[in-house]
Symmetry: C2
Subunit: 278 residues, 2 copies
């Protein structure tokens, strides 16, 4: 049974783990949320790379034979650094699978060359240009929009069905209006942050009120499929196995358990505190 | 000439430095923003103490003979740890000066026992109960309210005169309504985070629309006075000296210079990058 390491700066990567569990049940999962040093999205490339590499090394020490970087910011800014630091372990990020999902969505409409993908992400991810480069390599045009308030709003819980979700709708309207002014021809929306799937219903509502409906896709499911493609085909008998999951966080266990269950959509078992020296 | 170390998790402490410069011009200032590990306000006591102590040690190594913890979260959760780590250096936090400012505001109205101070702060600061304990020791009643979205909104620049300040007004209305439901008798509002002075006009507007006007005070000026009280009286001749300021940050210099000048209300000189091993 393979040990799969899943890494995020915080809780967002649990949306990727949620897709991995049913697809690859015959595995042992070790999840690390680097919550003492989050958020990564507002920091510099050098700092993000240092944090991401030390986190990846920790997962390798826990026996991870395959690493999933379930964090858009760490993927966009530090994937090469992680691969260099751990040359013997396959490393899967979320940017390429997300971009490939966008391509599939565009192809299903049959008009690749006339398409433009709008990517919502953190400041650090958009500044890296990683999504634009990857989408362009697939023949797609792209516009990236930094949305620094969305992660704090999700962490505050101001999403459906909170009565304060109206504030989040106002923020989404401002960000999407600014983005569509730059990219009026956008016809696919890619969520370039693992926190954003929790905003999907509010984003779709906002696109409706702006009379600009678009298919909204995230990279969680596509990333899980990319991981499965690296592994031998799953045995039929193993499908009902309950995968073992071990959770580590670098800060407050209590907060991780409380917020984490919203992302994973199931209660979290014990979370272990780990000090990465930050 | 004394060297005064000023520490914050980020830029907010510059609102305290801004008050120190005219009050104590005959000094050398070394400022550290631990921007690679911010925000502190959402993290646990243990993590905040570890970060704050390593930051304070750095300033001591730069020659600081007096330390100003210009960060409410670090003061509320780590002041004792910092004093223990650096027993030979006087350490001034922002909580007690802020509480004393609140007392002075209440006394000017002449009704101390009938007063209640409402403190707006980060989640970590409110959870510590440091403001409530300090205000109670001065004979005041207190209610603390966590406002996790205010720091991200200030850092996004959605404050006066941004057209998006209306979102910040909505957020303030939600937080203040919730707070005043718990504390309908509050008659002084204390800003328990060094980011919040930049929100003062919006907070006063919101209190007006809620028909609950209150004096809004912050701890920056009171903290500067507490520091001055520890030093020999300033020479008249030195008042026109331009204090030397050296700035360090643990992450992105560029962002520090851009945001920092809004907090200091003057352009920042060169900012030096420092690695505290995080």
């Amino acid at each position: 049974m393979k040990t799969i390491g899943v890494f995020d700066s915080g809780f967002g990567g649990l949306t990727v783990l949620r897709e991995l569990l049913p697809l690859i049940p015959d595995a042992r999962y070790v999840y690390l949320g680097d919550t003492a040093r989050l958020p990564y999205g507002s920091k510099s490339r050098e700092t993000i790379a240092r944090y991401a590499v030390s986190s990846a090394r920790f997962l390798a020490e826990q026996g991870a034979e395959l690493l999933v970087i379930a964090c858009n910011t760490a993927t966009a800014l530090a994937l090469d650094d992680i691969r260099e630091a751990l040359p013997n372990i396959p490393v899967v990020g979320v940017v390429r699978p997300g971009a490939e999902s966008a391509l599939a969505a565009v192809q299903s409409k049959g008009n690749t060359s006339a398409s433009r993908v709008l990517v919502l992400a953190t400041a650090a991810t958009t500044q890296s240009g990683a999504y634009t480069r990857t989408l362009q390599s697939l023949g797609l045009r792209a516009t990236e929009k930094a949305c620094p308030l969305l992660v704090p709003l999700v962490e505050e819980g101001w999403i459906d069905p909170s009565p304060h979700a109206s504030v989040t709708l106002d923020v989404l309207r401002i960000y999407l209006l600014e983005a569509l002014e730059q990219a009026p021809d956008a016809n696919v929306l890619l969520l370039g942050c693992t926190h954003y799937p929790l905003l999907k219903p509010l984003i779709e509502t906002t696109l409706g009120t702006l009379h600009h409906p678009m298919k909204v896709i995230d990279s969680a499911e596509a990333t899980a499929r990319a991981v499965a493609a690296l592994l031998p085909a799953q045995e039929g008998a193993a499908i009902n196995a309950a995968p073992e999951c071990i959770f580590y966080a670098t800060d407050s266990i209590e907060k991780f358990q409380r917020l984490g269950s919203a992302f994973l959509r199931q209660p979290l078992p014990a979370v272990h505190l780990v000090d990465l020296g930050g």
